[in-house]
Every structure is written in C-alpha cells, then in structure tokens.
Symmetry: C2
Subunit: 344 residues, 2 copies
C-alpha cells in the first residue's frame, strides 16, 4: 500500500544507499567518509557521519568482505563449546581486539555421523571471504588446508605442521606422574584422552615413561579411555576403583576427566585425596573451584588463545616463521593429591 520510494527497499535494513540519499551525496562518498579515506570535504564528512549516526548505520560485514581482500575478521572453529575451548576463546577475543580484529566463533554442530572433517566444511564456507584466517581447535583430519592461513591448537595426530600450538604434553605428563610417585604412590592409573589427538598420545607416553623411570611396571588394566570428557572418565574411574588391586592415584589426561574421576570416587564413598589422589591437566577454571581444588598441570589456556591470534596475525601479515609453538606445563599442587592411604 505504501509507495516504493517512501521507505527503504528492504524493511528494517539500513544500507549505504539510504545514508547516501539522506545526506544528498553519492554512495562512494559515504564509503570514503566512513572508512576515513582522504578526499572528502570536512562539511560533507560531518553531514554524512551525522546521518550515519542518526540511522544507526553499520557497514555490512558481508558486502564489504566480498569486495575487500581482507575482512579483519578472524574465525575460531571449535567442535563443541566446553571449558577448554571456551578458555581459548577468551584469550583469542582479547588478543583479537587488541590486534584490531573481530572474532567469529563457529561450532560445527556435527552430531554423530559427520563428526570427522567438520573443520574442513566449516572452513570452506567461511573462508570464502568472511574470515581472513582461522584458528582450529582440536581438528579431526589431516587435510592440508590451503585456502587461508590457519593455526591449529592441539592438532590431530600426523598434523605436525608448522602453524600449530601444543603444550608440552609429554613433559607435563611425566611431571604429573612423578609427583604421584614422589608422594609414595606405586599403583597409579591413567585416564586417557581423545585417541586421535597428539596431546592424548603424548600424555599417555609421558605417564608410562615416568613409571618406567621409577622402576614401576605399567599395568594395562590401569589405563582407561576418558575421551577428555567428564562422563566417560567418571565411568572409567568407576571401573578402575572396582579392580581387585585398585590404584591409589590417577593421572587424568585433562581436567574434565579429573573432575569426572573425582565425582566417581565420591560416589563410591571415597575421599579425595585421602583415599585417592587425582592429578589433572589444563587448569580450566573449574579446577580451582572444585573441592578439593585440583592438583593439575597449568596450561595457560587463555595465553594459548592469545598466541594463536598472534601467530595468525603474523601469518596474515606475510611473515613466514610459523614455528610450531610448544608451551611448557607447570605443576600446581592443590588439594587433590596426598600420600597413599597405606603410608598413613
């Protein structure tokens, strides 16, 4: 019922054309004014900006990204939103804004079947033009990605590529296990992480190595799959604690697993650390707020997010040295570890 000219084309959407019309200038002039290019008269600039303000106009990320070569947006692709990836996100957010990038988080939401290769699909869609570069958290496949610069955090086995960030999983696992040995534990179990990730394998290796160095024979029944997840690890712990010769300590591959172990131990009526010592890995925030607070290997998760952004930023600026980064993990002894019961 209303004429085509007395309202914006697309209802509710303010475009650069609307601004231009109201300011009485051409579209390119508005573009220049907004982007601070030279060649706009002060009076025009002022007028345009006031109209922009009035209309609440913001340039569409989509349209500009299609035209520009760089969009100033970084993408971070995660399989799932859990404490680990969320901590990375926080760091990445901070670093991005400091570096002048916007940040887009994209969860593949792949339930079941297509869980493998999610990052490839997501990347193709976004890398079109939306994001300049991407940070991929715990990717599943070793597909060589070439479309845009990519930094991987905790990569898949086989992806020892240069633009990766890893913590010192092997060394950390050694330290964790050694800590338990030093306390007097001899029967130490391990809850394994996600089998396809390098980190999980290295943590298991470090655990074994520490045992062997101490002259302890690793027992196959003492290693269970936790998949880096709470529930699965709780289940694994329940199994471990009902063994005939049950372990007095557990090194869990990450904090979520450790918290799962703690929960399972409690359900069986055990007290941590009196009856069972537990060490985690990561130092997610929840590790500090559990009771007892978790003894764990501190990974500077937010710092890793920051580093990833810096690496990506360097990559985008044409710098070549994407040296793989390894961050050392530091043991923090909190309340979940103590000498084994039989030494009391």
């Amino acid at each position: 019922m209303s004429g085509p000219s007395d309202q914006p084309h697309s209802p509710g959407r303010v475009t650069i054309g609307d601004v231009a019309r109201l300011a009485g200038v051409s579209i390119p002039t508005v573009s220049k004014a907004i982007n601070g290019r030279y060649g706009v008269a002060p009076a025009t600039l002022k007028r345009v900006l006031s109209v922009v303000d009035e209309l609440g106009y913001e340039t569409s990320i989509v349209a500009s990204s299609l035209r520009r070569q760089r969009t100033n947006v970084l993408g971070i692709l995660v399989a799932e939103f859990e404490p680990f990836s969320v901590e990375l996100l926080k760091g990445a957010s901070t670093a991005s804004s400091e570096k002048g990038y916007e940040l887009l988080a994209y969860s593949s939401l792949s339930r079941g079947k297509s869980a493998i290769g999610w990052e490839r699909r997501s990347l193709s869609r976004l890398a079109g033009t939306l994001i300049d570069g991407a940070i991929i958290v715990t990717p599943t496949v070793l597909a060589p990605i070439e479309s845009i610069p990519v930094v991987m955090i905790d990569p898949h086995t086989g992806q020892e590529g240069s633009a990766t960030i890893n913590s010192d999983s092997f060394g950390g696992a050694q330290i964790a296990t050694q800590h338990l040995i030093d306390l007097g534990h001899r029967n130490i179990a391990h809850i394994r992480g996600r089998g396809d990730l390098i980190s999980a394998r290295l943590r298991e290796d470090g655990y074994r190595d520490a045992l062997l160095r101490a002259g302890l024979q690793p027992r196959p029944e003492n290693v269970r799959d936790g998949g880096y997840q709470f529930r699965q690890s709780a289940q694994a712990t329940q199994e471990l604690l009902t063994l005939t010769d049950r372990p007095t300590a557990i090194f869990a591959a990450n904090d979520m697993s450790a918290l799962g172990a703690m929960s399972a131990a409690q359900e069986l009526g055990l007290t941590v650390p009196r009856d069972l010592s537990i060490v985690g890995f990561d130092d997610i925030p929840e590790a500090r707020s559990s009771t007892p607070p978790l003894t764990t290997l501190v990974q500077p998760l937010q710092e890793i997010g920051v580093r990833a952004v810096h690496m990506l930023s360097d990559l985008l600026e044409g710098e070549d040295p994407p040296q793989p980064t390894y961050l050392s993990a530091r043991l923090v002894v909190r309340g979940s570890t103590a000498p084994p019961p039989d030494l009391y």
Copy 2:
C-alpha cells in the same frame, strides 16, 4: 612467473567459476546443480558434483547471503564466553542443526569503555545479510532492534519485550531462600547479580520476599554485589564472613557467584556446608562437579538455548506469537546446604 590462466585467480580459493570451468558448463548451471534446482540433465549434474567433490568446493556463505534473502544462519551474540552462555550455545547448536540452520557465535570483545551497547553494533554488522535472526544473551541496552528478528535471553531491565526468555527468577529465589530458612538458618546473606539485568533484580526481590514472609528482617549489610562473577563474589563473601554477626548461609544470584563464595569460605578455613550453607542459581555443569556439589536452582540452560532457537525460527517463518517465555526453576538439594552450626 606462471601464466594467469593456469591457476585459479585467487590462490587457494575455489570459486563456483573454477567448478564451472572444469566441468565445462556455465556458472548458473553449477549453482542449480549444487542447490538441487530442477532443469539440470542427470549427466551434467553428475559431472558437476564430481568436480565439486574433487575440488572440495563449498559455496561461500558470504556471496550467497548477499544475493539470497535468507541465509539459513542464526547468530548468537554474547558479551563473553563463560559457563552460562556456553551452555546456551550448546542447546542452540543442537536446535539449530535440527531446524536446519547454521549457527554463528559472536563475542563483542568489548573491554572496558564500549561495554554498553555492544550488541547493537555487532548486530548491525551481522544483520547486514549474514544472519537471518539473532539470539542476544544478556543485552545491555534497551534499544529497539528492528532490522532482523531477535530473541533475548535474560534481558536488560526495561526490555520486557515479547521475544524474551526468562527463568522464574523471583520464584526461584524465594524457593532458594525458603530452603535455607527451612534448614533453620536465620542469618542469610545474598550475593547480588548484574544490576542492570531483570533477573538479578528479581532474585534479590525473591530473597527479600522469602525473608519477610518468614518474619525475618533483611539486613542491608547482608547483601553484596557479585556481578554474576566468580572473583567478585569471592570478594563479597570474604566481606560477609568477616562481619561481626556473620551469616550462616548465602543465597548467591548464580552458580558462578556461589562457587566464588565456596572458594572464599574455604580460604577462610570454613567447611561447606558445616560452617556455611550456599545455594546457587543456574545449575551450570561446574555446579555438579564441585565438592561439595552445589545446591542450586536448576535452570535448563541448554533447553533455554533450544527454546530461543525455536522462537527465532517461528519468528522467521512469520508466526506472530512471540510470547515472552518464563521457565520455572527447580531446587536441587546437593551437598552445599545443611542446618546452621548452632543447631548441631
């Protein structure tokens, strides 16, 4: 050094043009084939799809969204990635994929100054054409947003608009406080949430109401700001616990605050719940894995994320009844509450 025609234009980027060239058809034909439109010969279809597969082509979300009216992408805008918003994210992810939408999470990363109004800016940039609709978590301003359909979760005070999802904060707070009263507590403190959010105000009101109904006089010194945050709430708790007549129980406005309170209590050498009872609100995952597990009001966070997506989906399909949704909160008694010490 290499000729301009023996490689794709933009290095590393596979476009629809590349597919068309390799398949020996025109660009529109490829488009039709990909999108399953009628009017493509079976042989052509097969050939095109095989090239698509070979090249690993995925249609650019950006380019297609610019042309299409609907993009099939939902945006979820959060101020920060913390357990609360992350749980919502999970639910939203699931629901989106079930409804056939992709999901984009966007964190405003506004540190300091421009924290107010972050959602407006983000929305303008994305609403351009990238996303069909948005879910905004705990927005800060009451700006009327008209560009695209929006659903708000836990809105700002004054935003009693229709497309909002709230939990029954008032009722929940009453129940939480009543639970403590029933246990025999008489000196009950409250750690307040983010002052500008309706939920925070209602929880404080519910707390007061329950006290008054029980004939207890609310004490001003017993209410402190926690800002829905761990650290700030720990600080507030430290203050509360050093009062001359210190409270025997705390109702915290959310779980992060409750966990902060628990941490502070421990640092002062108190045992929860023997020396201090604590009730939270939300039931974030960490509430279950803390020791003792937190007594709290269960909000189905993932369910809220799901509902938000459904509301948004309805809105996008032109349905009108965006009735404000209120979800009731249910008390779950875990290990952080007990009768006050003087009743032992």
